[in-house]
């Protein structure tokens, strides 16, 4: 038995964390100056393997502290406490265009973090590590309740925080890709906000022209006496921004407490239904561009920002705080140009004190909760006809985008808590 090997002590704290929680990776009891590689590996729910690694040299006390020491190379460099998570990438030989999204929030991501002798860049599978630990990363805190809502053909999931409540609530809207994506809502509920993840698009949208057919159902799901109706916000990403802004400004009955718009735009025919909005975008499809790798750039479909007010949500009429999160390298939506225009419109209307813009250089379109792998481009299904898979360019550069996600998420949580939890003197009715 190699005596030296047993000395190496690897610990990650906490060993069970929430997805947006930082962990501390410590390697101890190696020789001073020892060269090692810290390696993270993850096999996602659809079976793809991901990896990240970084090269370190132990200090005089034989320790490597990932939160304080410099990575000398690997999938990230420099001092990056969470680099092992956000620099995860598909292992060599993987299918191109992968994007990591945890669809089952009831189970954690199980990441194996190990230490190898020397500065390795490949062949990890063939070597025996000096030590390894398993870390769980959860989207759901214990006690958070996941309540599927399926009445009347609705596809939504409500996440309720633990505790007696009542809780402020949030509508969580994703983009034009469809599918019910739960992880952000689960995480928000883990932070005390009852969140409803809602799939507002279904594949049949392309077949359906008549969008005014309504039908009513009794909503019999009365499990949720714990959401406070006067404290509801809305968070939208990408196309979800379009919905969010439309509701925030035009809803007759409902006064939202606050709005968060990530990587989206206020450009839309204001009298149109959601489908008509999408159609208006599609009318500009000839503005699609391609980069050298034949990746699809859709940001020009909404450019130039129109001057015609009937083509933009009248943000000057907004009565609640608005947080806009923008990646300046967004290649999918003109989020930056839209934010600039929104600011001008609100300044003219005199309500710009409600606006906060977080703008991140070199960040792309997919600004999501932090510490998950970055994808500059990924496969995207166009519903057609014809049905096709394209490689969409989201934009962004790994380090800057990952930093943006961390900063934006923290500030989004503060914004939501301040607007949804703090007691105010005036009512929003």
């Amino acid at each position: 038995m190699d005596r030296k090997q047993c000395c190496v002590k690897l610990s990650v704290q906490p060993s069970r964390g929430l997805m947006d929680e930082k962990f501390l990776v410590l390697v101890q009891s190696v020789l001073p100056g020892f060269q090692l590689t810290v390696y993270a590996s993850y096999r996602c729910d659809d079976g793809h393997s991901w990896e990240a690694f970084a090269h370190y040299t132990a200090n005089a006390s034989g320790t490597v502290n990932v939160s304080e020491d410099h990575s000398l190379g690997g999938t990230y460099c420099g001092v990056e406490p969470m680099g092992l998570m956000w620099s995860l990438r598909p292992v060599p030989g993987s299918k191109p265009g992968l994007r990591m999204r945890k669809m089952n929030v009831l189970t954690p991501m199980e990441v194996t973090i190990s230490v190898y002798r020397g500065h390795l860049t490949e062949g990890f599978v063939d070597q025996v590590p000096l030590a390894a630990v398993v870390v769980e990363r959860w989207y759901m805190a214990p006690g958070v309740r996941r309540v599927p809502v399926t009445e009347g053909g609705l596809t939504a999931t409500l996440f309720l925080p633990s505790g007696p409540g009542p809780f402020p609530g949030l509508l969580d809207l994703w983009g034009g890709g469809g599918k019910l994506v739960e992880y952000r809502a689960a995480l928000l509920a883990s932070h005390g906000i009852a969140s409803l993840a809602l799939d507002y698009l279904t594949p049949q949208i392309t077949k359906e022209n008549d969008v005014s057919v309504l039908f009513y159902n009794e909503w019999t799901n009365v499990q949720h006496p714990q959401v406070i109706d006067s404290r509801i916000g809305i968070l939208g990403l990408s196309f979800g921004t379009s919905i969010a802004l439309k509701m925030a400004v035009y809803s007759q009955v409902f006064k939202l407490r606050c709005v968060v718009c990530i990587s989206g735009s206020h450009v839309q025919p204001i009298k149109g239904s959601v489908e008509q909005i999408m159609t208006s975008f599609h009318n500009n499809v000839d503005k699609t561009r391609f980069n050298e790798e034949q990746q699809v750039i859709w940001r020009d479909l909404l450019l130039p920002i129109p001057t015609d007010p009937s083509l933009k949500v009248e943000v000057g009429r907004l009565r609640c705080p608005l947080l806009m999160v923008v990646g300046e390298d967004d290649q999918n939506w003109p989020a930056h140009e839209s934010a600039v225009d929104v600011k001008e419109m609100m300044q003219r209307a005199g309500n710009d004190h409600l606006l906060t813009v977080l703008s991140y250089p070199s960040a792309g379109h997919l600004i999501e909760p932090p510490f998950t792998p970055f994808a500059r481009a990924s496969s995207y299904k166009i519903l057609g006809p014809p049905l096709q898979m394209v490689m969409v360019l989201w934009g962004g550069e790994t380090v800057a985008h990952s930093r943006a996600q961390e900063d934006a998420w923290r500030k989004t949580l503060v914004f939501l808590r301040e607007n949804l939890y703090r007691a105010t003197s005036s009512s929003h009715l």
């Binding site: 090997q5 006690g143 909503w219």
Partner: protein, 465 residues
């Protein structure tokens, strides 16, 4: 009743949201307004927010508990509730006053009453007590280490005790506390007559190892081992009395030196264990066994950690291999207090130990950490510690000894942030007998915290370098 109103108006609000964003597809449902007459109260404030981080922690990890969006400078009660594996309810509570910005932070603030006082970030965990109306003489011990303790932490209005009938719960958060880290593997061992449970850390190994021994309470106690494995040690909990898979009768030690030697070798021969990096940790009677193994069994451990135990057997031996008579046979040194609770302390006074069983301390082959709870009512720890020190000094081996002594701590010095029982049920046949362990809550908790850290450091020094 108020909640019913909220529910109906909440339905209405969510319906409206749906209407606005779902004018897309005929399959998208509209949520119908609930039956009319909805009264809606607009001045309702949301609940304050209670957070705990991490929400899933190992037993020895700190959890940072904070409350915010509370009224400033107001009395609140923090409360912890959980159920043991046996279904008993345990709870703790503490009274705080929020500060000027309406927050409370258990890492910073002082409790002014309840299960503990002062600044005690983990007080809600070590201060746990059986809930009112519980069975007598309970002791909190996790049987199933593969599941966590699920603890509900709540924030109550005012300075109250949780058992009061009219309490207002303002916020709550659920936390999990684990003895096992992810990736730790648990294997039941029934091999060569040896009865135990092996815990292996994740990773390829090989690992330094520890043999984990408890006291005359018997059975197979796994939680400390599970925690050692979570720190990177292969850890083997060994049963030696009072287990159905060991030779009967169950109220005496029917296994001798060969048994312990087999157990040690089992660990040593494991392909994922470093053969010359094995330590032994013993509590109570387990101390005597650790010392005996180290000096007689022909094995050489790298270090010993001995907590509150004797240097010889408290029960007469029946053979040269260390088997004993029945525990109940010798009650001469049992002492009873006015409630009829028994203290076994005098049994382990060096003069009262079975002479032929007393270990030859001068043969100690490795470093020894001996831990004393100065309020130990179950063992004469201080006297045994003194004897060890004197003997080792005379043998020129006192550099092997590290002595830790904790005022106010009792017999059961266990992993930190777990409650101490000053007395608990020892046996119920022929009649219910309660035994005294000693220890006062706050100093015992401090001792557990400090000792654990020092134990891990000691093991690190002798098993990893």
């Amino acid at each position: 009743m108020f909640r019913v109103n909220l529910r109906q108006s909440m339905v209405r609000q969510l319906q409206t949201i749906m209407i606005a964003c779902m004018r897309v597809h005929r399959n998208l449902a509209y949520l119908h307004r609930a039956v009319g007459g909805v009264r809606w109260n607009s001045s309702f404030k949301p609940a304050p927010l209670l957070t705990a981080a991490p929400v899933r922690a190992l037993i020895d990890e700190h959890i940072s508990i904070k409350g915010c969006f509370l009224p400033p400078q107001s009395p609140i009660t923090m409360c912890a509730q959980m159920q043991s594996d046996e279904g008993d309810h345990w709870e703790a509570f503490a009274h705080y006053n929020t500060n000027a910005d309406g927050t409370v932070n258990l890492t910073r603030d002082h409790s002014v009453g309840g299960s503990y006082v002062g600044c005690e970030p983990m007080g809600l965990f070590w201060g746990l007590q059986p809930a009112p109306g519980s069975r007598e003489g309970l002791r909190l011990r996790k049987k199933n280490v593969e599941t966590p303790y699920v603890m509900l932490l709540s924030l109550l209005e005012g300075h109250v005790s949780p058992s009061e009938r009219k309490i207002t719960e303002l916020a709550a958060v659920t936390t999990e506390r684990w003895y096992m880290a992810p990736g730790v593997r648990r294997t039941e061992i029934r091999q060569d007559g040896v009865v135990g449970t092996l815990f292996l850390p994740p990773g390829p190994g090989p690992f330094p190892a520890v043999l984990d021994l408890w006291g005359m309470g018997g059975g197979l106690v796994e939680y400390r081992s599970a925690l050692f494995a979570s720190k990177g040690y292969a850890s083997f909990s060994l049963a030696y009395l009072g287990h159905k898979d060991l030779p009967a009768p169950h109220n005496r030690v029917n296994v001798g030196d060969p048994y312990f030697k087999s157990a040690y070798h089992l660990l040593q021969d494991h392909r994922q264990v470093v053969a010359d990096r094995i330590g032994i940790v013993g509590l109570s009677f387990g101390v005597y066994l650790s010392l005996r193994i180290a000096t007689r069994a022909g094995v050489k451990p790298s270090c010993l950690v001995c907590i509150n135990g004797p240097v010889g057997s408290t029960i007469k031996l029946t053979d040269a291999d260390g088997r004993t008579e029945n525990f109940e046979n010798e009650q001469t040194h049992w002492q009873f207090d006015d409630q009829g609770c028994v203290s076994f302390k005098a049994m382990s006074l060096p003069a009262n130990l079975s002479p032929e069983s007393k270990v030859k301390l001068e043969d100690l082959p490795c470093p020894l950490m001996y831990i004393v709870g100065e309020d130990d009512l179950s063992a004469s720890s201080m006297e045994n510690a003194n004897l060890i020190e004197q003997t080792l000094r005379a043998a020129g081996k006192c550099q092997l000894l590290t002595l830790l002594s904790y005022p106010g701590a009792g017999h059961l010095i266990e992993p930190p942030y777990t409650p101490n029982s000053r007395v608990s049920l020892w046996s119920f046949k022929p009649r219910k007998l309660y035994t005294l362990w000693g220890g006062h809550p706050a100093p015992h908790a401090a001792a557990q915290q400090d000792a654990w850290e020092k134990i891990l450091d000691f093991m690190d020094s002798h098993l990893r370098r």
